[in-house]
Structures are given as structure tokens and as C-alpha cells.
């Protein structure tokens, strides 16, 4: 795959606030990439620098092999969808979408055809004469999308595209956007603070934190192999534990220094069993005491205390119910452990040994 966008050693400060610190990444042609991070982590700044709305203090921005640092936003071949859509409030839907085309001095007939095809694409036929104030949030979002696409950009940038839309419409719109972008094959980068959104929509995710890039990878890579402690804690649900070596199956240190014992446990790494029959490898399991249980709609969350640490896991509605005070088996499959600034996955040793005996 060809590289379409490249950021090299980007630094950017706003006063004392460091928005970008040595930001490097590439985006391949045709990919849909999500910039994911907490607010203030510098993701929007990256997007705005790509668009030319902000200028990096140092470093190079390359789009399609060309350095664009000194190019005006309009010369970069980008389309930008703003968080609050930024539709021209005094223009109709038609005029909004046509704006970029009128700047290109397109012939009237060609312009009309292009705008009409875009209105069809976003499914807003019959709304051409409406003003933005007369549209719902989802409809405005679509108009903003069509307006950005109208001048045929090679790179689409979307800033928190779903943030201002209510939850139900958001899910539909995500799917719609993913399909539409896929159909058009346009390289796209979007910013979000919602990991569910990033995982669902993006081909690849770039995790930002405090102006730095923590990790870039497919949603599965990010999830299964978090490279930094931040990513491990930020993605998915996580319980931080101070010393994972106290648990059965993790006691042997494998030559590891004793201080690197903090770890992250995810609910899905933990199996909570009512008795020894419910799990395959009871020998690898710890004993714990149920503290509380919560009904979470499709699963039951169980909080259980094991050797002084409070862990949580899930049980299905089909499994026999557990109650506070029950003694249970807790099998920990794996732990993300921190080693300096790196994260490694540690598997339950006893479980693996038993499994290999079976085979």
C-alpha cells in the first residue's frame, strides 16, 4: 500500500501547552484511520495541522508525497468536517454543498449535477432548499460531509464527527459513514475520544496522549497487544493491580525484576466459576469471595475479592447465579504487565502447562 499522509517529527505548542511532541505516523492510501485519545491529548491539533488551519512549530507534513507545510488549506486537496458541522447558516443545503464548487468556477450544469449526486449520496433529496437550522443533527452532519466531499478531496478529515449527535442516530450514522467512505475509497482520518466509535469505524487506530503518539495499529492489535501502559489502561475496561505476581500461575518471575509487578486485568481475562466443575483447569484458579453483582443487561458483572485485590469479571445469564459472600474460583487467563514504559502480556503459567499436558 502507498503512503498517502506522513507526519514527521511534528512539534506544536500553544503558549505553554504542548499539543504535539515529536508526532510521527503514516496513513496509507484508502485507509480510514481514527485518532483516539482523551481530551487535550492533541488529536484535534494533528487534524488541524493536516488541514493547514494550524501550523506546526517544526516538522514536516507530507500529503501524497509533497511537503504541504507552506501550502494554503485550499491547496492541499483535503475535505474537512467540523465538530459542530460549521454549515453556512445563511445558505441552503444546496448552496452549502455547492460552495466549494463555485470557487472552482465549475460550469452551472456540471455543478448542479455534482451537488445533486451528493445530495442523493447523503439521502437528503427534497431538502435542497432547507436551511441548516431546519435540519436535525444527523442531517446536518450529512450535509457537512457532502460539502467536504464536493470539491473531490483526496483526503477527508473529520473532527469528532459524531460527538454532537444523540446516541441512537450516532450508531446508524457511524455505519453509514464507514460504508460511504469505503465505497468512495477516499483516505480518511477522524478524531474521536470514544473508543467504541474508533473500534467500530476505523481500519486503524492511532492513540494519542499528552501530545504524543502512544501506538498505531488495527483495533485488534491495539486491543490485544497494547504497547504502553497508557494504551492498556485506556482501551477496554481495565482494573489496575499493584502486584500480579501474588496470583496463582503468575508467581514465577521469569527472571523479571520484582519492581515491575503492576499490571492491568480486563474483565474478559477473568473467569469466575461457581465451583471446580465449571472450569477446565481448576488447579490454575485462585479462590475468591463475591463482593457484589450487577445486572448489566446482557451480562452479569461480578466483583470478586482475590488476595486483597478487587477484580471484576462477567458471567452470562445462563450460568448459575452468584451472590455476595459466595466462595468462587477465579481463573486469571492473562495480565498486561508494565515494564518501564512497555507493556507485555503474561499468560497464566499453570494453565498453559496443564493444557500442554492434555495435548
Amino acid at each position: 500500500m502507498d503512503t498517502y499522509v506522513e507526519l514527521a517529527h511534528i512539534y506544536k505548542k500553544f503558549g505553554d501547552f504542548e499539543a504535539s511532541h515529536d508526532v510521527n505516523f503514516v496513513v496509507e492510501q484508502g485507509k480510514l484511520v481514527g485518532l483516539l485519545g482523551p481530551s487535550g491529548s492533541g488529536k484535534t491539533t494533528i487534524l488541524r495541522m493536516l488541514a493547514g488551519l494550524d501550523t506546526p512549530d517544526s516538522g514536516d507534513i507530507l500529503i501524497n508525497g509533497q511537503r504541504v507545510n507552506d501550502k494554503a488549506p485550499g491547496e492541499r486537496g483535503i475535505g474537512f468536517v467540523f465538530q459542530n458541522y460549521a454549515l453556512f447558516r445563511h445558505m441552503t443545503v444546496f448552496d452549502n454543498i455547492a460552495f466549494g464548487l463555485t470557487l472552482q468556477k465549475l460550469k452551472k450544469q456540471a455543478l448542479r449535477e455534482r451537488v445533486e449526486s451528493l445530495i442523493e449520496l447523503i439521502g437528503l433529496k427534497g431538502f435542497e432548499k432547507r436551511y441548516p437550522a431546519q435540519l436535525s443533527g444527523g442531517q446536518r452532519q450529512r450535509v457537512a460531509f457532502a460539502r467536504a466531499l464536493a470539491p473531490n478531496p483526496q483526503l477527508l478529515l473529520l473532527d469528532e464527527p459524531f460527538a454532537a449527535i444523540d446516541a441512537k442516530v450516532r450508531k446508524e450514522l457511524r455505519q453509514w459513514l464507514r460504508q460511504t467512505i469505503g465505497k468512495l475509497g477516499i483516505t480518511s482520518i477522524f478524531v474521536t475520544h470514544d473508543q467504541e466509535e474508533a473500534v467500530e469505524v476505523a481500519d486503524e487506530i492511532i492513540i494519542t496522549n499528552k501530545g504524543r503518539i502512544e501506538q498505531k495499529g488495527t483495533p485488534i492489535q491495539i486491543y490485544k497487544e497494547p504497547r504502553t501502559p497508557f494504551v492498556a489502561q485506556f482501551i477496554g475496561e481495565s482494573n489496575r493491580i499493584e502486584d500480579y505476581t501474588v496470583f496463582k500461575g503468575f508467581d514465577r518471575l521469569n527472571g523479571r525484576m520484582k519492581e515491575a509487578t503492576a499490571g492491568i486485568l480486563r474483565p474478559e481475562f477473568i473467569e469466575i466459576a461457581k465451583d471446580a466443575d465449571e472450569i477446565l483447569t481448576p488447579l490454575a484458579a485462585e479462590k475468591g469471595v463475591v463482593q457484589t453483582t450487577f445486572f448489566r443487561g446482557n451480562v452479569i458483572q461480578v466483583n470478586v475479592e482475590v488476595k486483597g485485590e478487587l477484580l471484576n469479571g462477567y458471567r452470562t445469564l445462563e450460568q448459575p447465579p452468584l451472590y455476595a459472600g459466595d466462595e468462587v474460583f477465579v481463573l486469571i487467563h492473562r495480565v498486561y504487565c508494565f515494564d518501564g514504559t512497555k507493556t507485555t502480556v503474561v499468560e497464566n503459567r499453570i494453565k498453559s502447562e496443564i493444557n500442554s499436558v492434555f495435548i
Binding site: 488541514a51 493547514g52 488551519l53 494554503a72 488549506p73 485550499g74 491547496e75 483535503i78 475535505g79 474537512f80 467540523f82 459542530n84 460549521a86 454549515l87 453556512f88 447558516r89 445563511h90 460552495f99 466549494g100 470557487l103 472552482q104 437550522a133 460539502r147 467536504a148 464536493a150 470539491p151
Partner: protein, 277 residues
């Protein structure tokens, strides 16, 4: 507790009527009565006297000068107001707050002082006096001085009207246009101006009203040369001081008429901008 509730309602209604009564009495005394006096005094000696007073060459001169000064003030302050609003809402720079308060200075300073400032700057005692003399430029006690004083006094109206508007609207739409390749002037003409047009017009109207009625600053720089440096308010004062009450009120009625037209325009603009928002 239905009784107590009813008593409260009655009390509230009484209060409402008392307040309406006070407002009406005050408005009648302070606004309507004076207007009636102007109209009746102006017409007290019949239509022909009225027409003679307002078509008098000096009155017509005064009218022209007022219009000139008003037009100049509106144009200058619109251009300046747009530039200042753009600067103050789109950029940050050291001294921004200072500039922002400086814009309000003409509101805070007495117009008389404003007039005196221009005399000091361009009059006989000024360092600039010799320069102006050699280039045959007269500013004070002439039309340019009056125009300058009017501009000074009406300086903040347009800027003050559109700065909050531009602040509230943000710069997203302008940025969106930038990403589509629009240049500065295109953005101003097609995005910013349409967004602020009602606020801008409102500012222009207030500026016009104030410019036409300005007395203090203009009075100081005018020198009261009849038919040359008198605006309508100054002309009215001269007529009044000459005990020519009918003529004074006749000319005053023109200003009143203009004020009423402006009031109607103002209401129309408010109604339109509400409708669009």
C-alpha cells in the same frame, strides 16, 4: 390555600397596573408631550411659515452639512468597525484588551472635550497649525472639523454592535470556507458579511441617529458660522437664541421626523434578524 393564592393574584395584577400607569405617565411627560410641543410650536404660525423656515437657505445648508457629516461618520465607522471587530475576534495579540477598551472611549468622554481636543490638534495653538496653513487646509471652524468630531463621537457604535456577534458565531464557518479554497475577501463577502449583516445594519442605524443629533463636540469645532459651519442641531440653537421659536421648532421637526424613520427602520431590522435566527 385557594384564598391566599387569589389574594396574591389580585396583588400582582394591581402591581402590574400601577407599573403600567407609572410608565405611561412618565413616557407622556418626557417623550410624547415634548413631541406634541414641537409639532404645535412648529405649526403655530401656519404651514407657510413652517415651509419658509425649513426651506430657508441657511436651514438647507445646515441640512446638507448634517447629511455630509452623518454619511462620512457612517462610512468611516463602518469600515473601522468591521476592521476592529475582525481584529479583536479573530486574532490575539498583546494589547488586545487595551484596544478593546479604547474603542469605548468616545462613550466615556464628554463630547465637549472631544471637540476641544480637535481645536487643540488643528487650531491656532496647535503645532500642526503652520503646516496646515501652508497647505491651505482648514479643519476647525469648517466642515472637516465637524466631520471629524462627528466621526469621533459615533466611533464605537458599529464595532460594539458586531464584536459580540462575531465572538458568539466563532470562526468555524470561515475555517470551513478556507479548507475549500476560499480566499480572504471571498470569505468576508460570502460568509462573514451575511452572518453579521443585521447586526451591522443595526450599528449603522444607531451611528446615523447619533451622528445627526450630535451637538456638543460639533458645537465646539463649528464656530457657528451661519450657512457654513452649522449643522441642524446648531442651526436650531441659533434660531432659538434669536427668539425665532417657530423656525427653531420647524427645523427641529425635521430631526424628529428623521429620528422616527430611524426608529421604524430599527424595529424592522430587529424583526428581520429575529426571523432569520
Amino acid at each position: 390555600m385557594p384564598m391566599a393564592y387569589e389574594v396574591m393574584l389580585v396583588k400582582e395584577r394591581t402591581l402590574k397596573y400601577i407599573l403600567i400607569g407609572i410608565s405611561m405617565a412618565f413616557l407622556t411627560l418626557m417623550l410624547i408631550l415634548p413631541l406634541v410641543v414641537i409639532a404645535s410650536e412648529a405649526l403655530s404660525k401656519g404651514w407657510s411659515t413652517y415651509l419658509a423656515a425649513i426651506t430657508d437657505p441657511f436651514a438647507r445648508k445646515a441640512m446638507w452639512l448634517t447629511l455630509e457629516a452623518t454619511l462620512a461618520a457612517v462610512i468611516c465607522n463602518t469600515v473601522f468597525g468591521l476592521a476592529a471587530a475582525w481584529l479583536l475576534t479573530r486574532f490575539s495579540f498583546p494589547g488586545k484588551n487595551m484596544l478593546s477598551s479604547l474603542i469605548d472611549l468616545p462613550f466615556a468622554i464628554s463630547p465637549v472635550i472631544a471637540g476641544l481636543v480637535f481645536i487643540m490638534m488643528f487650531g491656532r495653538i496647535s503645532y500642526l497649525h503652520n503646516f496646515l496653513m501652508t497647505h491651505h487646509l482648514t479643519i476647525v471652524f469648517a466642515a472637516p472639523g465637524i466631520i471629524l468630531a462627528t466621526i469621533f463621537v459615533t466611533f464605537p457604535f458599529v464595532a460594539r454592535e458586531i464584536i459580540p456577534m462575531m465572538n458568539a458565531q466563532g470562526k468555524d464557518e470561515e475555517e470551513a470556507a478556507t479548507t475549500m479554497g476560499a480566499g480572504g475577501f471571498t470569505i468576508f463577502r460570502r460568509i462573514t458579511l451575511p452572518k453579521i449583516k443585521w447586526g451591522l445594519m443595526y450599528g449603522v442605524i444607531l451611528c446615523t441617529a447619533r451622528a445627526m443629533g450630535e451637538f456638543g463636540a460639533v458645537s465646539v469645532v463649528s464656530g457657528h458660522i451661519r450657512g457654513k459651519t452649522t449643522t441642524l442641531p446648531l442651526h436650531i440653537e441659533i434660531l432659538y437664541n434669536e427668539y425665532n421659536f417657530t423656525a427653531a421648532f420647524a427645523v427641529a421637526s425635521i430631526l424628529v421626523l428623521l429620528a422616527i424613520i430611524i426608529l421604524v427602520l430599527r424595529n424592522f431590522i430587529e424583526w428581520r434578524s429575529k426571523k432569520e435566527a
